[in-house]
């Protein structure tokens, strides 16, 4: 079945690519059928525990599904399918669609491949396929390819090569590429290898998960790929990094004698990622950039959860991972909808779309509430579990850091909603219509799912729990919530529901009061009708406040943000290029010089012959 799944995706990708030459409709049909077919097969035919293996290049490859990978493929396929529907409408009328759909399907395929690989070599192959297929997406727009594209591919390759080194080391030591064998033999490695293998692996994974020193590719890459793909990119593809990290942390780091340091360092890196990502997100004017930095920040929380590694922390990381896919998918789609309808994604340009694109607004509002972790939605459950786990495992300062990040996150959350949907309704955007249904419905579906998760988090917590049991955790049901009282038993059964109902009840009660009272004498006025010292704003006068939105806050945190990681990298790169440029001057262009080099080489070797060939 796995073969069929993969061949459907691969064949579908190629067919879609080829069909592009024939007709657009055929291409769309192929694309959709492939995606739906893969999803259908995955959910109906694939059973957990199934394994296939075959041999290639004298390596034994093994693919299979377990609960852990099932959980992640859930994210990939769920988000992927919705994004596929979205993409049909979003990409309509753009160029190189065959290329786009091809890369889309290939990246879905490679992500599934990653979670289903049971051996390192196919893991790596799928990993790289994921890298280049997503690279195609990053450069799809053709803007900033030389900057963002190269950044992305360079960092990804750096990570991939780190992983390749680790795999080579493992292979050289145990002569097997099976992940299971690597894990079971891990204890027999030399102490140096025991430290270095996880570090190398984690380097690879933290690139994809955009962890702090290695995150600089993320904002550019996320914002440059088409939004239909960015939702998958940020929602699912970055989760592959998390997937790997969880594997490494659970199987390797816990066997290290001094794993505490390891965990502390990574937890802190995650927290710093969260803080810096948040701060930078606040400073952005481009919605895509804002969401990109926000993704970095959100992944920071997840990394912290993974690094802490207690039952609750891991559960929260898994839960947040799925949740992040949901809300960040929705938000990127919303940005895509706005981009498609208005043609720009700058907060300083677009305002007041709420009445023009109400459904998009509702979806983004719900997603933002979930992102901010505000109670009635699912985001709170994840955040709350993270805090509890941090407190339970005595990481107090981390709590503060995470809390700071998530409080500051409100700032950019508000900026997102305000920038696009609220504020003055300008005449410039009066023509804007709601996005097509094919774009709105996936967003609303995901947003609706977020609402349901707020009341019934068990829907996701149960598969997450099963996944964790695969990794060797005890079943978490029932014993996790010793300290807290919010969920004193399983999350969806006890007190969360009354709370959510109470919130809904209070809200509705006061909403009704507000609405009914003076119903006849309440009137709607346009946003031009505001109290601005008696002045009547003219049609062309834009009174929306959107430039330097959080200037005071940014001034307050200025010292932290003065240094940008990317400038360091860029200066490093420039320095290297200077060195390279200098180096190639060895080739002077004078034939005689080359001849002299030959003689010098000869003389040097003759002089050193005893050292070299001694």
């Amino acid at each position: 079945m796995i073969y069929i799944l993969f061949s459907i995706l691969l064949g579908g990708a190629i067919l879609t690519f080829l069909a592009n030459k024939i007709s657009g409709l055929l291409r769309d049909t192929f694309f959709l059928l492939t995606m739906l077919g893969a999803t259908l097969i995955f959910y109906t035919q694939l059973h957990i525990g199934g394994l296939v293996n075959f041999s290639i290049g004298s390596f034994n490859l093994e693919w299979g599904v377990n609960s852990f990978s099932w959980y992640f493929s859930l994210i990939v396929l769920g988000l992927g399918t919705l994004a596929a529907f979205y993409a049909l409408s979003y990409m309509k009328g753009k160029e190189n669609l065959g290329f786009f759909y091809f890369s889309f399907l290939i990246s879905i395929l490679s992500m599934l491949g990653i979670v289903m690989s049971h051996d390192l070599i196919s893991f790596f192959i799928f990993w790289e396929m994921m890298t280049w297929s997503s690279y195609f997406m990053v450069i799809y727009s053709g803007k900033n390819v030389q900057k963002n594209g190269i950044n992305y591919i360079l960092f990804s390759a750096f990570g991939a090569y780190a992983m390749l080194t680790a795999i080579a080391l493992v292979y050289a030591n145990i002569h097997s590429l099976s992940i299971v064998e690597m894990i079971s033999n891990y204890g027999q490695f030399s102490p140096a290898l025991q430290t270095w293998i996880p570090i190398l692996f984690l380097m690879a994974f933290s690139v994809k998960a955009a962890m702090m020193p290695l995150h600089v590719w993320a904002p550019g890459a996320y914002s440059d790929s088409p939004m239909a793909y960015t939702s998958v990119f940020s929602g699912a593809l970055s989760k592959m990094g998390i997937y790997g990290m969880i594997l490494i942390f659970v199987t390797m780091i816990s066997h290290l004698p001094d794993d505490t340091w390891f965990r502390e360092v990574f937890a802190w890196l995650g927290a710093i990622t969260a803080i810096m990502g948040t701060l930078w997100a606040i400073a952005q004017d481009d919605a895509r950039k804002l969401l990109a930095y926000s993704s970095v920040a959100q992944l920071g929380y997840i990394i912290t959860g993974v690094a802490i590694g207690t039952d609750l922390a891991m559960l929260s990381a898994l839960f947040l991972a799925a949740l992040h896919a949901l809300f960040k998918g929705t938000l990127f789609m919303a940005v895509g909808a706005v981009e498609r309808q208005t043609g720009t994604v700058k907060f300083s340009e677009v305002t007041g779309l709420i009445r023009k694109m109400p459904w998009t607004f509702i979806a983004s509002l719900l997603a933002i509430i979930a992102l901010a972790g505000i109670p009635p939605l699912g985001g709170f459950v994840g955040k709350w579990m993270l805090y509890e786990s941090l407190i339970n495992s005595n990481h107090y300062i981390l709590v503060i850091a995470i809390f700071f990040a998530s409080t500051s996150a409100f700032l950019y959350c508000y900026k997102f909603l305000f920038g696009f949907f609220l504020g003055q309704e300008e005449k410039e955007w009066a023509h804007v219509k709601e996005a097509p249904a094919l774009m709105v419905v996936p967003m609303l579906l995901m947003a609706g799912f977020l609402v349901i998760l707020g009341t019934f988090p068990g829907i996701l917590l149960k598969p997450a729990d099963t996944a964790m049991q695969t990794l060797g955790f005890a079943p978490t049901e029932g014993h996790l919530w010793s300290m807290s009282v919010l969920f004193n038993a399983w999350g969806d059964q006890v007190l969360l529901r009354p709370l959510v109902y109470a919130i809904a009840g209070i809200f509705l009660f006061f909403l009704i009061i507000l609405t009914v009272k003076g119903w006849k004498n309440t009137r709607y006025v346009t946003t031009k009708d505001i109290s601005s010292s008696g002045e009547v704003p003219l049609e062309h006068e834009n009174l929306t406040f959107s430039v330097n939105f959080y200037q005071p806050f940014l001034r307050a945190v200025g010292p932290v943000m003065k240094h940008r990681m990317i400038t360091w990298y860029r200066e490093f790169g420039a320095g290297m290029e200077t060195i390279f440029d200098f180096t190639r001057r060895i080739y002077t262009g004078n034939g005689q010089t080359y001849a002299i080099y030959v003689m010098v080489f000869l003389v040097i070797i003759l002089l050193l012959q005893n050292t070299i060939f001694g």
Binding site: R585, Y587, G589, N590, G591, Q592, A595, M599
Partner: protein, 137 residues
């Protein structure tokens, strides 16, 4: 066969010294002189020096030509010992063969080099190698 290089008579010694000197002269011309023609000449000298060196390896004072003439092999069965005995007085033929080949090759290379020099001169109007470096870095 024996190791001959350090078992030298004065004549042989002279051969070696001369050939090394010629090689050095050729190298000097090829590496230091700036004119293309001189460089080509240097390379030719280099070739000549090496050829001389090769020849001198096979040189045997008062050796005979390495030919098994009918007169020489008359009445002798063609066994290994006999052949060894016969060839003792002969100059080693292999280096000569080598040199012949090398001379031919050197000739070819020089011809190509000269044609290239002509073309370079046509394009650059100079023979100074320092000025012919369009291709660099």
């Amino acid at each position: 066969m024996e190791f001959k290089l350090f078992d030298l008579s004065i004549v042989e010694y002279a051969f070696f010294v001369t050939s090394v000197l010629i090689i050095l002269i050729g190298l000097y011309a090829a590496l230091v002189k700036k004119t293309l023609i001189k460089i080509v000449i240097g390379l030719s000298i280099l070739d000549a020096g090496i050829n001389l060196l090769l020849i001198s390896i096979g040189y045997l004072k008062a050796g005979t030509a390495p030919i098994f003439s009918p007169a020489l092999v008359k009445n002798m069965p063609l066994t290994l010992e006999n052949i060894k005995k016969l060839s003792e007085g002969m100059v080693d033929p292999v280096p000569q063969a080598l040199v012949l080949t090398a001379i031919v090759i050197g000739f070819g290379v020089t011809a190509v080099a000269l044609s290239l020099v002509i073309r370079l001169y046509r394009h650059h109007h100079t023979l100074n190698i320092d000025e012919i470096k369009n291709l660099k870095w």
